[in-house]
Symmetry: C2
Subunit: 301 residues, 2 copies
């Protein structure tokens, strides 16, 4: 496994793969690798001839210095996980290259960033779109892998890739969950034992609202109420948002009535347990779509 | 000469060139081709194995529908000019592809867009950066050619290419002028005979201020006064801005005193004659740099 720090060197290796007609799969990460990331790496390993993982804790997508500092970083553990998963190249991005003095270029997506996490974290998705653009330009992979736990991020990057004619196939993969339904996240490590127990309420809230919806409930208010009710029963939980949105546009349903079209309904939660902000979502879709996931498959993954 | 409308088809041809190790030169235009564009095409023809010209009147970089409508468009003349200049592919971009319904991605550069034309045309450079990103993604040329008449645009695109790791060599070429010193522009065609005569004041203003600077004048106010004085003598001229800026940052000199460093001093003008807005600039540089131009070479081109 090659461990490379400089974009020029990474670019040369990726170009060599292309010249040899070796399909390259790319998994961008902030480090702190967990089962969610590794599920992306394994899928890339299955589908591609070579796999590159980037580890770059991009400061421009964090709202606060405190949040950035708290992000779990254990490079040795990350490298070992990559080795075991059969990664070919780990690209350790450095701020001196990605955000040098005088840097002033930005990439962003407008409407899709207005709701959900975009509303409360103004610069976050601009930071994400900008660094993903940089990484795609260096790596130029055949396929790039993102998790659907960050559903809004996946939608935004899909939009950006389509709008700006990036030459890459995006693979958006289901959320990985613990046995008790908590979505795997690097932030989970920061939960106390007590908080960790209570945090299962997020998955339960989504599951229960999903069942309501599957049972025919179309009133957005009733679905939100269901989620809020479950979350408020969890000790120490502060709800940031519960949302029921059209999955294609991430916009609210007109008249507060869900219409289950082929594009699906997104149920989404952001909630705090102590100092830790967790997000999760499920996509309720009448048809199971490629690269997306319906209630059943996501619940079981 | 191939004339192609669909990005997928253009992308395929460009990929075929790359596979055959044929270096591709790219000249993006809005149409209305003139000697300025053709100087770029000829340079690309000299330096590259294949030359692609795009013609796409990008609405997102125009501030007003009126300005967009007034833009001279004569497709047959443009195609004939390309044929004569030995262009291999003309890419006729279409709004349905570049700006489809639901489009919401944006690329921009922050500080460099704040002065000069960026100050008065808020969305202009965002439109430029976005469409240049799209075009570079479709064409992926070895070299892309831009004129220095749009000095700010050239700086912004250079910054964007460096910041975002675009894999392209930029070639920034000198302004082409009429014998009387007026910079060639598609907008010149909209000048009346009388206005056309008066418009030479722009080149004269820059030339005179450049001579002052070369003679040792370092007070920004005096240089601006010189330019304004020349322009105000021209009948019907309305000055939008006269500026004396550090060429590297496009920022004002601290204390109103020019310091002629290796990066150079930009003298720039935007002025209206009737309904026509014209811009021009000269770069005063103590050393003649590759891809840029000092007062003498620009004056004589």
């Amino acid at each position: 496994m090659k461990i490379l720090k400089h974009s020029a060197e990474v670019g040369q290796w990726c170009e060599a793969y292309r010249k040899a007609s070796l399909g390259l799969g790319f998994v961008p990460t902030l480090g702190g690798l967990h089962e969610g990331h590794l599920s992306l790496v394994r899928q890339a390993r299955l589908e591609c001839d070579r796999v590159l993982v980037s580890i770059y804790l991009n400061p421009s997508q964090f709202d606060s210095a405190a949040d950035l500092e708290e992000y779990p970083a254990d490079l040795e553990a990350d490298l070992e996980a990559c080795r075991q998963a059969g990664v070919d190249i780990v690209f350790l991005g450095e701020q001196a290259e990605f955000l040098p003095e005088g840097f002033q270029s930005r990439v962003f997506v407008e409407k899709l960033t207005e709701s959900l996490c975009g509303a409360g974290r103004p610069g976050h998705f601009r930071g994400v779109c900008t660094v993903v653009t940089q990484l795609l330009h260096v790596v130029r992979p055949l396929r790039a892998y993102f998790g659907l736990k960050d559903f809004q991020q996946a939608k935004i990057i899909s939009r950006m890739v389509a709008d700006l004619f990036f030459d890459v196939e995006l693979r958006l993969l289901p959320t990985v969950r613990s046995d008790d339904g908590l979505a795997i996240s690097s932030r989970n490590r920061r939960l106390s034992t007590a908080e960790r127990k209570e945090a299962v309420a997020i998955g339960e809230a989504l599951q229960e609202a999903g069942e309501l919806l599957a049972g025919g409930e179309t009133r957005v208010a009733a679905l939100k109420e269901q989620m809020t009710g479950v979350l408020e029963k969890a000790a120490g939980c502060r709800v940031e948002y519960v949302e029921v949105l059209a999955a294609s546009s991430l916009e609210e349903f007109p008249g507060g009535e869900v219409s289950v079209s082929a594009e699906g309904v997104l149920l989404a939660v952001a909630a705090w347990f102590g100092e830790v902000r967790l997000i999760d979502n499920i996509l309720f879709s009448p048809v199971s779509e490629v690269n997306e996931v319906n209630l059943e498959t996501q619940g079981g993954s």
